[in-house]
């Protein structure tokens, strides 16, 4: 199947999955935003964890199932689509939860209906399309676009599921096709511009899918601290049960089943694995190197995102983040082209190229996380916490320390932890830019997964996943016990991307901010 056809089929799948996901995200967003703070936190956790589960682990877990479906390509495609749906729904839901409310709410809509269409038709802003654009669709369209983009760029599961039955490829995947063209046919090696000839179509598709989100971000204005959220009615009991069911299903299918299968598969090989210290040694060295690259990329991406957001250079940030938003393969090929064109092949497979590529890939995520996690607390809260921490009273100092941790340390640790997690498990940029000795350990695991399942591989994969988790734990512990060195400033003004609803919704409700300690 040619690349344009694979690209078209992948796009079709992406749009279909995103459209199916759309009502689910609306339901989940409504349920989570109206739940009690504790339930909301639990639901958000259950929502996010499947998205954070690495695709190659999911693909590996279901590789035997997909083998059984090799002769039923339709079922194979449906299984793949279902897994993708479960993985991208959290992203759409988060967009709906954190995006500022659209200008036209239900009240405006109700007034418009009361006034009658004919009376308002002479005002351009009240026409049907304008109302749609400024109503619910304003946030849903970016959510759909982002979900479609993620589906469009997915390749880890597709690569492990890919079968040709009677000449028909299932699942179609442009990224697999383009990757093979690069790896097998040396695309771009003679003439770097050949990369553009093949890569322009996926790039255009990606830009098309990301444009609603970019448009939303481009037109975003920093909102004041005022509570502009609107009360939503609490979903009915049946709907609440549906939400719980969905969260349970996605958590079970995308996270629990893969992890349990890794544990069960690897159980019998654990003793021999620990005895084989050479393997463990090389795995440790590879993990440490991968972590080092992930940490450097995290630092670079975070600092750039924070710096540009604080300087309110939102548009510069969007331009810088655009290559990362286009997916790791597009970004990797862009950098490959740039290195071949301007620096020669000498720089292509170096640690510098790898760190640069990973940083650019992480940058949009870093920017979104800085905004979503409100890494910079409001000035008043931060200052009061510092005053409390500087108090002569021991109890008050302890309370101040807890406050500082809650306000800044925890959020910074979460930001760094999540970025490290993604950076550590990234595969494509590694393949295209890493020198042999710096090839990530996740990439090595992924290569071996193409040989089928075995106990040793499952055990190693589990260990590899534990490395960044261990690192996040270390970050948390260090951050918790060293609040005195917390220098993170507070924002004198709201950050760009800030929704201005920070303290209003239950998700963002901060008990510390609302109930200052006595």
């Amino acid at each position: 199947m040619s690349l344009p056809i694979e690209c078209g089929l992948t796009l079709l799948r992406a749009v279909a999955v995103a459209l199916v996901a759309c009502p689910v995200t609306a339901l989940l967003a409504a349920g989570i935003s109206t739940a009690s703070p504790r339930r909301s936190q639990l639901a958000t956790l259950a929502l996010v964890v499947p998205f954070l589960t690495p695709g190659f682990v999911v693909g590996y877990a279901y590789s035997n199932v997909t083998l059984s479906l090799a002769r039923q390509p339709v079922l194979n495609e449906l299984l793949y689509d279902l897994l993708l749906l479960l993985q991208v729904v959290p992203v759409g839901t988060l967009v709906l939860l954190f995006a500022p409310p659209p200008p036209l709410g239900p009240t405006a809509d109700h007034c418009r209906r009361l006034a009658g269409r004919q009376r308002l038709d002479r005002f351009r802003t009240t026409r049907h399309l304008a109302c749609l654009r400024n109503g619910e669709l304003r946030n849903r369209l970016p959510a759909i676009g982002l979900m479609a983009l993620l589906v469009f760029h997915e390749f880890e599961i597709a690569s492990l599921f890919r079968v040709i039955a009677g000449g028909r490829v299932t699942p179609a995947s442009w990224s697999n096709a383009l990757f093979e063209a690069t790896a097998l046919q040396g695309l771009g090696e003679r003439n770097p511009s050949n990369l553009w000839e093949r890569g322009w179509l996926p790039l255009v598709c990606s830009l098309m899918l990301i444009s609603p989100l970019l448009s939303l971000l481009w037109s975003a204005r920093p909102a004041p601290d005022a509570d502009i959220s609107r009360q939503r009615p609490r979903p009915r009991r049946g709907v609440q049960w549906s939400i719980r069911g969905w969260l349970g299903l996605s958590l079970a299918a995308v996270t629990v089943v893969p992890l349990v299968s890794l544990i069960v598969d690897g159980w019998s090989t654990w003793p021999s694995f620990w005895e084989g210290q050479r393997s463990l040694h090389s795995l440790s060295v590879q993990s440490a190197r991968s972590l080092a690259v992930a940490v450097v990329a995290t630092l670079l991406a975070s600092l750039v995102a924070i710096g540009l957001l604080q300087a309110r250079r939102t548009r510069s940030l969007i331009v810088l983040a655009l290559p990362g938003l286009l997916g790791s393969l597009s970004l990797g090929l862009l950098l490959t082209w740039a290195f071949l064109r301007f620096a020669g092949p000498g720089l292509q497979h170096t640690v510098i190229a790898l760190c640069l590529g990973e940083s650019l890939w992480l940058l949009p995520r870093a920017a979104l996380l800085v905004g979503l996690l409100t890494v910079f607390p409001p000035r008043k809260q931060h200052h009061l916490s510092r005053l409390l921490y500087d108090s002569p009273s021991r109890e008050q100092r302890a309370a101040g320390r807890r406050l500082l941790w809650t306000l800044t340390g925890k959020r910074v640790a979460l930001l760094c932890g999540l970025l490290c997690w993604w950076g550590f498990l990234e595969l494509t940029i590694n393949e295209l830019l890493a020198p042999a000795e710096w090839l990530s350990v996740a990439h090595r695991m992924y290569q071996q997964m193409h040989f089928g399942r075995n106990g040793a591989l499952s055990a190693m994969t589990l260990l590899v996943i534990l490395v960044p988790l261990g690192w996040i734990t270390v970050l948390s512990v260090v951050g918790h016990h060293l609040p005195s060195v917390l220098p993170w400033g507070h924002s004198r003004r709201p950050l760009a991307f800030s929704s201005g609803r920070r303290d209003s919704g239950s998700l963002r409700r901060d008990p510390v901010a609302q109930e200052p300690p006595s």
């Binding site: 097998l184 972590l291 040989f451």
Partner: protein
């Protein structure tokens, strides 16, 4: 855009002046991970002589890594390996080596077959070396100038699920001729040993029979998957009845206790397909002595024996004590001796590959 007025409380440290502290905090928080490749206390690291030897290895990591680790243990020369995926194996690395011609990073190329390595000859990428290992390998498996040398071979085989099909030549022939081929699997022929298999079929009559067979099998629903290991999995699990794979993958199925059997694949002339590994030193290496030591190490009878005893049951090509060979491998030696000559396939390979690329890009 209007700015907000200053808040009533005066803050001791404005945001911008905190940048240095922020950096310090970030480094404190994240810094420990930046230390390059921490060395665990056990086991002791090998004594590294100079820089690390970079090996591009198309052989399965599962089998190659222990061999390379043994080399490091014995010589103190550290090795960094770059493997290729099952899907793109050997061809991906060959292309990478050609691509890196101007800025070489690889010192030694361990290919899991001969074709591909011989492609590098045309690009003048290989260094001649006729060491002790090269001398012990028969002439038909090595370059006379010593630019590459074969060792430890595999066979292309039919793998059959014995619960569904008898592992006889007749039953296999009938299975292959069935109207519905959706119970037969092969690896995609664009790469790996299936590509070599296709090249040999192409070589028979410039691809005429191969093209017809390819179109016909696809029309009858043939299953094509990423690699030979997946073919083995499909047959071992009973999803397919038969398939083409390599002998090392077949033995994994046997070791897993699956109901599988094999028959060697025979070409129109009756020859079998015996595929040796090959090793070559890449031109421009700055670790010539270490690279030569690795080549001699891989071509030694100890390593051929070790590979024969490994789960992949590779067939030794040089003189080896037959008594020490496992029963499975002794069985294969006879078939391997009937293997077709692999030299002189360069043109057929190029033509076949060009046709396949066009075929799969439609």
């Amino acid at each position: 855009m209007p700015r907000r007025s200053s808040p009533p409380l005066r803050c001791p440290n404005p945001v911008r002046s905190n940048l240095a502290l922020e950096l310090a905090w970030a480094i404190l928080l994240i810094g420990p991970g930046c230390s390059p490749s921490p060395t665990p206390s056990t086991p002791p690291s090998p004594v590294v002589t100079g820089k690390t030897l970079v090996v591009y290895c198309a052989h399965d990591a599962l089998y190659a890594d222990p061999i390379l680790e043994r080399f490091t243990q014995e010589t103190g020369i550290a090795v960094q390996t770059r493997h290729d995926t099952e899907a793109t194996k050997s061809l991906g690395l060959v292309n990478r080596l050609i691509r890196e011609k101007a800025a070489r990073t690889c010192d030694v190329f361990w290919n899991n077959q001969v074709l591909g390595t011989t492609d590098l000859l045309a690009h003048d990428l290989l260094v001649p070396y006729r060491g002790s290992g090269w001398k012990r390998i028969p002439d038909r498996f090595k370059d006379p100038r010593g630019r590459w040398c074969g060792f430890a071979a595999r066979l292309r085989v039919w793998i059959v699920n014995t619960d569904r099909l008898a592992a006889t030549a007749t039953a296999i022939e009938q299975g292959f001729a069935a109207a519905d081929l959706s119970r037969m699997a092969i690896a995609r022929p664009l790469f790996g040993t299936t590509l070599t298999h296709y090249c040999l079929l192409w070589h028979v009559d410039d691809g005429r029979t191969l093209k017809a067979m390819h179109a016909d099998t696809r029309r009858r629903g043939l299953i094509e998957v990423a690699g030979n290991a997946t073919v083995k999995n499909l047959v071992a699990r009973g999803t397919c009845d038969l398939g083409w794979t390599d002998s090392d993958d077949f033995f994994v199925g046997i070791d897993d206790g699956r109901p599988v059997a094999m028959q060697p694949i025979r070409l129109p002339g009756g020859s079998t397909i015996c595929l040796p590994n090959s090793v070559a030193i890449i031109k421009g290496t700055r670790q010539m002595t270490a690279a030569q030591r690795l080549v001699d190490f891989l071509l030694s009878s100890e390593i051929e024996l070790a590979l024969a005893r490994s789960p992949s049951r590779q067939i030794p090509l040089g003189p080896t004590d037959q008594g020490q060979l496992p029963e499975d491998v002794r069985h294969l030696v006879g078939w391997a001796s009937e293997g077709i000559e692999l030299s002189g396939l360069t043109e057929s390979r190029a033509a076949c590959l060009a046709w396949l690329r066009a075929e799969y890009d439609r």
